[in-house]
Subunit: 361 residues, 2 copies
């Protein structure tokens, strides 16, 4: 989840401005409170079209003058600070999360991620052995994604001024010349593909916090999806939108796309794959899995004629083996996500307003 | 101060490996303890030539295949997490520091900084009015440097898990084809230029902490130096090394260069410009100003024949008006910085070993 998603404040989806004096935990949730903070506070400082695009990464174009011609190079750049608690959870840790989170945000622009930077804020007294585990995990995740960490920075703060370690990663990737993927490109008639089961990451972190009250065996899905994106791009030039449903879950991601593209999205709820253990945990805790974070999934909005070919290509890659079509883009209501329930009724799937799960990523 | 400066561990300047179980404040000082942590802990995870170069930014080369020819594009990428305490200090704040720190690290590769990302970790309860001040400060510093913030991220952690706000900035800049500036390029006979007075930033932050015990009127020098670098590059192709003497001060920076280039550096101490108020504060506190952080200065190592032209060009720019030649590169002792004192004696200016001033940037 990234890049301040400013465009969600557009005419189609205005966020009522709320006046807050202090930063609240909900400001970090990825929901309406986050959007409010961004619109009211960050927006005036960084008002430029790159950030305003509201995608998972900023897209820049460098022009290199040559003899007779100018070479244009499109790069995607994305940043994410990781503050997950606890640092180690079933299926991963903050190190794996920090690599995959940024690799995936860069890949969501159709870019091939190439290089990452890593900035560490360490708390005095943090065990070096834990730091070593986290760094080893970053090493393996970087190899899995095929990227290099080319610049780093380490700061130390006093005990009680952090929570073990926070890790910022910033990534850069090259966008092929013929690729134009943005949150604003969804068109009525497009189909919505989800790459696999949802809500595992959020529930795995809750379990690691001891908040489930039982051991579920659920593990985080944290993984790089850039190779999956490459496989999709190899079979279609009609991929309009890609986004990873992280903080705020699938529901928030779909709402962002609906707002950016000024379209509606109709989801067939029974088509969304959810593991039974995850569903049981959500029911016990009173959570809607549509709002729970994922860290190794993507949503793709694709022209209907290419959807089957893309789906077939996705299913050949481990990260996409459970890919399914979950819905379609509709003309109206603009900026709204609707869910066709198992009973055949239709409900509005809204963007959450306050705190969902703090420090999930 | 950046990019983990791994090369300082080379054959010329081995750091004795120390075994620590826990992160210490001194691990963030920029001195020997920092180098130890990087060598022992970070090095095994991120062992690649980009990071190993040990410069202020990672330098990558992108190749764009064209018709008949391949265009090569050199980019400098640098990351820095800012944890300065307090957030506001005479002459600046964490926002101005976060922009200038990364702009300057990118500029130290001879690159023109173009784009920055910004990642915020906010503490629950932090005053929105303070956040607004910091963002306004970032806005003005970005305009001063001529860069755009193109991607952002905001996370919130519980009260007591941060210290108001921490800001990571990552910057990208374009290196002109004919520029080759690295910490390893210093050659015996080169001259050492310093762009102005030293130690203001560190003392200004100490003053803001109430640690001076008096009000000195000293303000931080925090400013972007990229326009200064452009002016220098316009008059010389013989700039071998550029570096900003931040965390660890001028002494640490010169030691890093001496180690990377496997040369000695002789400094004429009386030629180093220091404001009298700064000198008085350092004497009272028992600090050597050579080890105190700067945030708007640079050190340049330049071939002797170009030094005068570069110096003249620097003095026309406000950020370089007090630029002076402070010493020269010598063949031996390799990896050592020597200071010719005002009494005519020579002392070794070593890299500091432990904590100097925590959370200065």
């Amino acid at each position: 989840m990234n890049n301040h998603r400013l465009s969600i404040q557009g005419a189609v989806c205005p966020i009522p401005l709320q006046h807050d004096d202090q930063v609240l935990l909900g400001h970090g949730s990825g929901g309406k409170l986050s959007q409010n903070l961004i619109q009211k506070t960050f927006y005036p400082a960084f008002d430029n079209p790159y950030l305003l695009a509201g995608d998972d990464a900023g897209v820049i174009q460098l022009e290199i003058p040559g003899i007779g011609d100018t070479t244009k190079l499109k790069l995607a750049i994305s940043t994410d600070s990781h503050v997950v608690a606890p640092l180690f959870f079933p299926g991963g840790d903050i190190g794996r999360l920090a690599i995959c989170g940024t690799v995936n945000d860069v890949a969501m622009m159709g870019a091939q991620p190439l290089y990452l930077t890593a900035g560490f804020i360490l708390e005095e007294g943090f065990a070096i052995s834990d730091l070593e585990k986290i760094l080893a995990s970053m090493h393996y995740a970087a190899a899995e994604a095929g990227i290099l960490v080319i610049a780093g920075d380490t700061k130390v703060v006093q005990k009680g001024k952090a929570d073990g370690v926070y890790i910022n990663t910033t990534g850069i990737g090259l966008i092929p010349a013929n690729v134009d993927i943005h949150g604003s490109n969804a068109r009525p008639g497009d189909l919505v593909i989800l790459s696999g089961v949802i809500a595992e990451h959020g529930i795995a972190v809750l379990q690691a916090r001891g908040e489930l009250g039982f051991t579920s065996g659920i593990v985080s899905d944290v993984q790089p999806v850039n190779h999956l994106v490459s496989a999709m791009l190899a079979v279609s030039h009609q991929i309009h939108v890609l986004r990873d449903p992280t903080r705020g879950g699938l529901a928030t991601t779909l709402n962002e796309i609906a707002c950016q593209s000024e379209v509606g999205i109709m989801i067939h709820e029974q088509s969304i794959p959810i593991a039974s253990a995850v569903m049981a945990a959500c029911e016990m805790l009173g959570f809607d899995p549509l709002y729970i974070a994922n860290e190794g999934k993507l949503v793709a909005i694709i022209s209907a004629e290419d959807a089957q070919a893309v789906l077939s290509a996705m299913r050949l890659i481990p990260a996409g083996k459970d890919a399914v079509i979950i819905g379609e883009v509709i003309a109206t209501p603009k900026g709204r996500v609707l869910g066709k329930t198992i009973l055949g009724t239709t409900r509005v799937i809204d963007i959450p307003s306050g705190e969902i799960l703090p420090r999930i990523c």
